[in-house]
């Protein structure tokens, strides 16, 4: 550009030149075009977002009901055998011959199979229901199951700390119970379906009656939950990880129950001590010392955190930061990690220095609870507290944690699709794309490729994608198959490592990702979805960690 050649470059350019530059959309003159949002506008938008969250919540609960129903159906199914119905175990008779479902290739009796209209094909109720669920949940569009909350089975809710922790124990124990009792009302329903192809209406009525049934059941369960829960928790933790179709339920539940408790009738009568969004609470004590102008934050304990791993427990730690930060200097502190608990006792005092008294009025303390994991930390909840709280006399606070803010990961990340193919008996791994990879070459780019292996794998198969040259947001869309059994998947880990191809020197490591039943949070959910809903493609973004795990 010859802007400068015409004028003295030490003189501010005139308006015309500035506007010309702004049109180029580069340089500092372009940035002022968008004024920041006013507080009223921000409020209005936040209002809409809040309203949307409510819709999202009912939707999550609805999908949870669909999932629970399918799960119940799966549990009550007899399992594939060559000479009997996959669902009810009925053997072939003259007037009721078994037919083969064209989806799963299992045979089913006429009561448990429907004829689908376009090609007059037979589909067993299980496949039909899975497909219906896929449609109803919107997973057909988003390519993986959206967030869902499984229906709550009990409504007991008490004030005291003790009964609250008891309730949490009940959470997992209830799951244990439903696992071991296949004859729960939920799973009794499927055989009640009418088998006509035009069963849409009857289907809806069934689902409604089931909802009613669920509610009735919760009423029954309100008593006796507490008694049951204590001894149940023990048996639950002793349970081996050898999850088959049903074993995954316990973990999945503890993951999904993260969102919010559905409104309970008893809650209306007697509100709990502090509003709890379902992510637990955190107790801290603030103390400000004038002499050293330091702020001491004592993180005491957290209660009722959400579970992140298979057993429904977490490894929480807190990250504290005083906001807004001044300049580039960030003062983040973290507590130690407390392992394998949902009710950690931190009892740790952290000191922030250089906090002036005027800061106390303007700044706030942000506390984010993370789940410690070797393969990247997942946010479990966060809370913000204004620093002026510490001037009040008892500076001990109980904060309700709000849920994780961002659902999609940012930073270096990988879009991965998993699909267990029951006919091939293989896990299809599709590496779709990656984004925001770190540059490793001197040209400011990387030449990324992905190595994939399943561990332990009797076939010792390793796969590699092609190399995408000079690209930080590569798109591969390459699929690989790992032959394995569905039941084996829960014992296996899928490891993906992203590398930068270099000639003449070792390849540079760009990031890694491990999925498996020992992983946590999003990664565990993805893995479990893949195991629970075979023959469907589950697509999800995962952030890459920069540590190398072998």
């Amino acid at each position: 550009m010859n802007f400068q050649s015409k004028a003295n470059k030490y003189v501010c350019p005139n308006d015309r030149q500035l506007s010309l530059r702004a049109k180029l959309r580069t340089g500092w003159s372009a940035a002022r075009s968008e004024p920041p949002l006013t507080s009223a506008e921000r409020e209005a938008i936040a209002d809409v977002v809040k309203r949307a969250e409510k819709v999202e919540e009912t939707e999550a609960r609805r999908i949870g009901r669909l999932v629970a129903r399918l799960e119940g159906m799966r549990r009550s199914a007899q399992g594939p055998t060559p000479r009997s119905c996959v669902l009810c175990g009925e053997t072939s008779r003259l007037l009721a011959p078994l037919r083969v479902c064209f989806m799963c290739r299992n045979s089913a009796c006429p009561k448990c199979i429907i004829e689908t209209p376009p090609h007059k094909q037979y589909m067993c109720n299980l496949c039909a229901e899975t497909r219906e669920m896929w449609k109803k949940s919107g997973a057909w569009f988003f390519k993986s199951l959206p967030k869902y909350v499984l229906p709550e089975r009990k409504t007991k809710y008490n004030d005291t700390e003790f009964s609250r922790s008891l309730q949490e124990a009940g959470n997992s124990s209830n799951e244990g119970k439903s696992d071991s009792e296949p004859s729960s009302p939920l799973s009794l329903h499927p055989p009640m379906f009418s088998r006509q192809p035009s069963s849409t209406d009857s289907r809806r009525s069934v689902s409604i009656s089931q909802d009613a049934h669920c509610d009735g059941e919760t009423e029954n369960l309100t008593h006796g939950v507490s008694g049951l829960s204590l001894h149940r928790t023990d048996s639950f933790s002793q349970r081996s990880f050898g999850l088959k179709r049903t074993g995954s339920k316990g973990s999945a539940y503890s993951l999904r129950s993260t969102r919010k408790d559905p409104p309970k009738p008893t809650q209306v009568e007697r509100p709990p001590v502090i509003p709890d969004a379902g992510f637990g609470t955190l107790e801290i004590r603030l103390a400000y010392e004038n002499g050293t102008s330091s702020l001491a934050v004592c993180v005491l304990r957290a209660r009722g955190l959400i579970g992140m791993d298979m057993t429904g427990l977490s490894d929480p730690f807190c990250r504290l930061e005083v906001l807004p930060t001044e300049g580039t200097y960030s003062n983040r502190l973290r507590t130690k990690t407390v392992h394998k608990t949902k009710n950690p006792e931190f009892n740790e005092t952290l000191h922030f220095f250089g906090i002036t008294e005027s800061d106390l009025n303007t700044k706030s303390l942000e506390i984010v609870v993370f789940d410690d994991d070797r393969y990247g930390c997942d946010e479990m909840g966060s809370a913000t507290v204004a620093l002026r709280e510490c001037s009040k006399s008892p500076a001990q606070l109980r904060l309700a944690l709000a849920g994780p803010s961002g659902t999609e990961p940012s930073g270096p990340r990988l879009l991965l699709a998993l699909c267990y193919n029951t006919k091939r008996r293989a896990l299809a791994v599709t590496v779709c794309r990656a984004a925001e990879l770190p540059p490793q070459d001197s040209n400011g780019y990387s030449d990324p490729f992905v190595k994939i292996h399943l561990d332990p794998d009797p076939y010792h198969k390793k796969h590699k994608t092609s190399i995408k040259w000079r690209n930080l947001n590569p798109i591969w869309n390459e699929g690989f198959f790992f032959e394995t059994r569905l039941t084996e998947l829960s014992r296996q880990n899928l490891t993906l490592t992203v590398w930068d191809k270099d000639y003449g020197k070792p390849n540079d490591f760009l990031g890694s990702l491990v999925l498996g039943s020992s992983s946590k949070g999003r990664r565990l959910k993805h893995w479990m979805d893949c195991i629970k809903f075979p023959d469907h493609r589950h697509e999800q973004w995962h952030s890459l960690t920069d540590t190398q795990h072998i």
Binding site: E34, F102, H119, K120, W140, R424, T430, E478, G479, F481
Partner: protein, 211 residues
Amino acid sequence: MAKTYDYLFKLLLIGDSGVGKTSILFRFSEDAFNISFISTIGIDFKIRTIDLDGKKVKLQIWDTAGQERFRTITTAYYRGSMGIMLVYDVTNEKSFENIKNWIRNIEENASADVEKMILGNKCDLDSKRQVSKERGEQLAVEYQIKFIETSAKDSVNVENAFYTLARDIKAKMEKKQEASNPPGARGGTHQLKATDQQRKPTSWLSRCSIL
């Protein structure tokens, strides 16, 4: 218990500022019209449950601000939407020309298989018309998108547009489910074998990435 529904479709209205996105949505959700112009702040949504072939479909329709300064907020909502309505004003040439930019915007931000539709709003103002119906149709053919002229004020084609879009999404959903099935196989063991053999040559690798 809230009213149950079978499907939840998320729709999005985009287009230049002042073309009548909010009015269209207001007409569809409340069956009313407001003559005054209040610029939308960032985003908003309305909900209406409709009946499609015996299925209850809940439509969550996101209304976006056309103004440039809210662009970062509004584009965040592209990805989650299953259907997008591109609205222009038939009395405003510029808004029509900008449709191309909006389509590019969709291609950059929305999912690849989002259902699209072009609406030419304010078709009641025939005296001030600057964009003929033919030009709208031509643009729609060019991009292979459905096109309809609407009037939120006179309630022309508003219902029709939303029903069409919802029906298209539903059809796409059914089609997708069919496509995810293995082909052939009508039962009977000998037929089964034949289809198995047929299926082998088709590369399952490529099929997987399409699925």
